[in-house]
């Protein structure tokens, strides 16, 4: 429980803008994947222009009444001319259906990629919805002020965008620069220490989309900024630019190695998969321009391996088949990779088996599911590898390495060969 009193009216954050969101101090787990030690906030905002009122995002459905109460403290529903949805996830659109009932005249401004999601959320026919898809360069006039839109996809959904109120140098950033931190004092210079929450949020929500973060920063950095108003956590009015710089630091690759990198992870019950792993390691190491590393999963923690994989160009996973499946440490590693971007990395699988040998195919499917490309078919060897089979493992490693360093010759294949 919290000892602070949460105000139940709208909170002014600038001349034209009020915070009309909701406090959720008791939340302890968000979206199943994040711990929220002191809850969160769902931030929504109201912008009053001379020619109308704009609502920027809404709140989670169960907090709708709190949101409407705050909204009603500063505006009437018939004044609302438009609603901007920077991100359509239900924690920001939960109150939208009711808001549309109360302000049916309002026009929705969403990104192009949000269109199908909007229909999925509201379950309404296109003709029943008044919406305008917008992108970078588009703006909407509120009389004495203007809302400008910035296309910032994948932060952290395909639909995400940012909205800028130039007259107040205020950026409505959506989930970007947000965090799960609930403090009634709302502003970053007044609330408790939220540095951990800010970095934790980035690590779980934005980290898989670092490339898109950097693209978005390139768009947002030139803006004059007095205030950043995200959809979760404190409103950033003290040194807002510091948060852009921090995002840039967090999103810039740390990589110091010039060569491409290939990581081999294996786990072995009787040493057979380990023997294969070392032969693959030898084979891959014969190719120049590639730095190859080998790790026994029994000797390491998953988290540092995830960091390594994030910056690697390829991974090879070796697992025996036990009871018709790959073993748990391999699945644990794979299930921990959701926080990093794997798209386009090279993946491969191998393993020794005694009886049925399903594990390799399963791992290959999972690698494809994680959006890696699997250019060399997996390698399975029954029980103890012979010298000849170990030579096959070396060739497998070499082929992978050549694929990654683009030393493989142009190939022409027939449908029957694949």
């Amino acid at each position: 429980m919290t000892s602070l009193t949460f105000p139940d009216c709208a909170i002014p954050i600038s001349n034209r803008v009020h915070w009309i969101g909701a406090f959720d101090p008791l939340l302890r787990s968000f979206d199943l994947i994040l711990k929220t030690a002191n809850g969160t906030t769902y931030n929504a905002y109201l912008v009053r222009g001379q020619q109308g009122v704009a609502i920027i995002d809404t709140v989670k459905e169960e907090f709708a009444e709190e949101f409407f109460k705050r909204l009603e403290s500063v505006a009437n529903y018939d004044e609302i001319t438009l609603i901007v949805l920077n991100h359509l996830e239900p924690d920001h659109t939960g109150a939208l259906p009711e808001l549309l009932k109360r302000a049916p005249q309002a026009y929705l401004y969403i990104s192009h990629q949000a269109q199908s999601m909007l229909k999925g959320l509201l379950k309404l026919d296109e003709k029943q919805l008044q919406f305008k898809p917008v992108t970078t360069g588009d703006h909407v006039d509120l009389g004495d002020c203007t809302l400008e839109f910035f296309h910032t996809p994948y932060l952290h959904w395909p639909d995400t965008q940012c909205t800028y109120l130039r007259e107040e140098k205020l950026l409505f950033s959506g989930d970007v620069f947000g965090c799960h931190f609930c403090d009634a004092r709302l502003f970053n210079d007044l609330v408790g220490d939220f540095r951990f929450s800010f970095d934790y949020y980035y690590a779980h929500i934005m980290r898989p989309f670092k490339k898109y973060v950097l693209d978005a920063l390139t768009l947002l950095e030139p803006l004059a900024l007095d205030l950043i108003a995200p959809t979760h956590g404190p409103v950033l009015r003290d040194q807002p630019r510091r948060y852009l710089q921090h995002y840039r630091t967090l999103s810039t690759p740390r990589k110091e190695v010039v060569d491409k990198t290939l990581l081999i992870f294996y786990i072995s019950a009787y040493g057979n998969t380990a023997r294969m792993a070392h032969a693959i390691y030898q084979g891959a190491s014969t190719v120049t321009g590639l730095r190859v590393s080998i790790f026994d999963l029994q000797g390491g923690e998953v988290e540092p391996f995830v960091d390594l994989i994030e910056e690697a160009d390829g991974i090879v996973l070796g697992t025996p088949t036990i009871n018709g499946d790959a073993v748990k440490p391999i699945w644990d590693l794979l299930s921990s990779l959701a926080v990093v971007n794997l798209k386009g990395k090279v993946g491969a699988a191998f393993g020794s088996y005694g009886w049925t040998g399903e594990a390799v195919n399963m791992i290959e499917s999972r690698l494809r599911g994680l959006k890696l490309r699997v250019p060399v078919p997996g390698l399975r060897i029954k029980l103890i590898p012979t010298e000849e089979e170990l030579a096959t493992c070396q060739t497998f490693g070499q082929q992978l390495a050549e694929t990654m360093t683009q030393k493989q010759a142009v190939r022409e294949l027939d449908f029957s060969q694949i």
Partner: protein
């Protein structure tokens, strides 16, 4: 059965395929960098660029066309899970 050449320029692989196959049926098997999400033309993950032979792919369905518009994709972009190869084409991940 008529044949066509499907080339993945990102990995320099050309496959001779029977006309009518979808790009998805081949690209994963040869390890092209085209990656897939829903595999049914809804998510747009498998957007690919068609470098040559644009007219040698099946026409986009109404649904594919809608997704391509939402992605603001250019004229020579298609979804690899939907496009069928009818003649020689060269593609790469978008």
């Amino acid at each position: 059965m008529s044949k066509a050449q499907l080339t993945f320029s990102d990995i320099d692989v050309t496959v001779t395929v029977p006309a009518g196959v979808r790009v998805i049926e081949i690209s994963e098997k040869v390890g092209s960098g085209i990656v897939y999400g829903c595999r049914e033309g809804d998510c747009g993950t498998c957007l690919m660029q068609v470098l040559e032979g644009w007219n040698n792919l099946s026409s986009p369905s109404v649904l594919e066309d809608k997704i391509l518009r939402e992605l603001m994709a250019g004229k020579h972009y298609r979804l690899a899970c939907q496009a069928q190869v009818l003649g020689d084409v060269v593609v790469k991940p978008a």
